[in-house]
Amino acid sequence: MKFGYSIIIVLITTAFIVPEKKTTAVQSSIKASLERGKTVYLQRCMACHQMDGGGVPRLNPPLDGASKVKGNDKLYLVRVIIKGMTERVELDGEYYDNNMSANPDLTDIQIADVLTYIRNNWSNKASAVTAAEVKAARAKIK
């Protein structure tokens, strides 16, 4: 988690201090992760959560602006992706009817990438998720 925050801090500081001159290794790895994450998003998530991450009122919750998506509970996020969701739960004051797909076949890297993507796309700004974090979370979920 701290590692994730430091990435963002590095990103922000580098963005302001050395914008043109050099692209750090961290930056390029984040960029690559975001791109791979977008591919996963289009295949697995876009149909329900929409291109703009806005979801569908009362059926599929929005990811853009969602407190859970931006939040620090990465274990929760990994669990939702791997296990899907069938319970009636309130999310930011609203209920959603559709079941969430389970995605146990996604690799740790794919889950890290798609989480990093949804946490840093649209209006969202949150720490990146690493494959190591997903691996640790996946072990707890089983």
Partner: protein
Amino acid sequence: MKKRVLFSLSIICAAINFVAANDSTIATAKKIVADPVNAGLKTPAGFSASVVADNLGRARHIVATEQGGLYVKLERLKEGKGIVYLKDADGDGKMEITKTFANYYGTGIAIKKGYLYASSDQDVFRYKLDDKGDVIDTENPQRIVKGLWDKRQHASKSLALDDAGNIYVNIGAPSNSCQEIDRTKGSKGMSPCPILDSAGGIWQFKVDQADQGYHNGVRYATGLRNVVGLDWNKQENKLYVTMHGRDMLYTLYPDKFDTTVSAELPSETLYAINKGDNAGWPYVYYDHFQQKKIVSPEYGGDGKKTSSENFIDPLVAFPAHMGPNALLFYTGNQFPEKYKQGAFIAFHGSWNRSPLPQEGYYVVFVPFKNGKPSGKWEVFADGFSGTGIVKNPRDAQHRPCGLTQGPDGSLYVSDDVKGTIYKISYPSK
């Protein structure tokens, strides 16, 4: 003398009041002029639309009383109430909230032979109406059905009634295509689909028995994924339903379908239902391009393979994912001849046609003759979304959800985004 003056004054006043009252009646009747913006809707020539009520909450299905009142079922409680009763008491063409009641949310609402019927997502209740169309006892309805499946997905219980003392209740399947794990890539379709024992069909109950349930209800039709629109056609003495077709062909089977096919298939379907019919969900879906029932990929389909099983064919197949949320056979005399006995369908509007633009968000008309479509369907009222192209359903300002016919033959449409009630009329010249 003084008394006399007072007396005659009071007579004069009464007379003035009387004239004034009459005048105001005439004046208010005249006040109902056509809405210059046609309620933001595009309707066929000669029709006019107006907003009769607004901001009611999530207005799902609606039903008009014989006296011209309107009951509205809300999907989420507003100030603790789930039914709104509207009346135009002062005759100004706008309806006012007369009463709110019912401590449950839901979709279904209907009137038959002096009773109002309304559903939560598990139960069906009925309330006796008086000769004004008012509910006599809002606090103590009779619960006629209880304990139906409410598993979040497709949980709304739409209602229709025949003239023989039966009520038909949709029990939507809490599933996309009856996979072992719902909506999950690589998860197999269950065979036989166990959901069909308790959902994915229309159940028939008696109107006047308390606390019926699965044990004494009749599974009237099966293989219907989720029916939100249904109506009893009196001319044919038959049930008709509109079904929401399955989602996610591409997301679940990217090796068999691309995003365009997934956006345009399967069809949304309108069926005439006879007792015992099976429409084929989850085993097949309808493809209006091939005009065939195609085996679902969860059951070995590849987009082409057809089924030899005895599933019914739809009467009309609409573009995919548009969400037919209400069905109404027009029995009034106000609209022109071509509309008589025809079907109006409120399309809630799609969400899973991305990356293509969304579709629907309008009311469609299908001409009928002798219980069968007699021509092509057409958009009857459009413009509910308030935007040109809907990219995401949350951009739509209004979404049509319920339909009812007023005693004068006007058509009412409900919207479940802002709770707007539209009235569409064909004024005589």
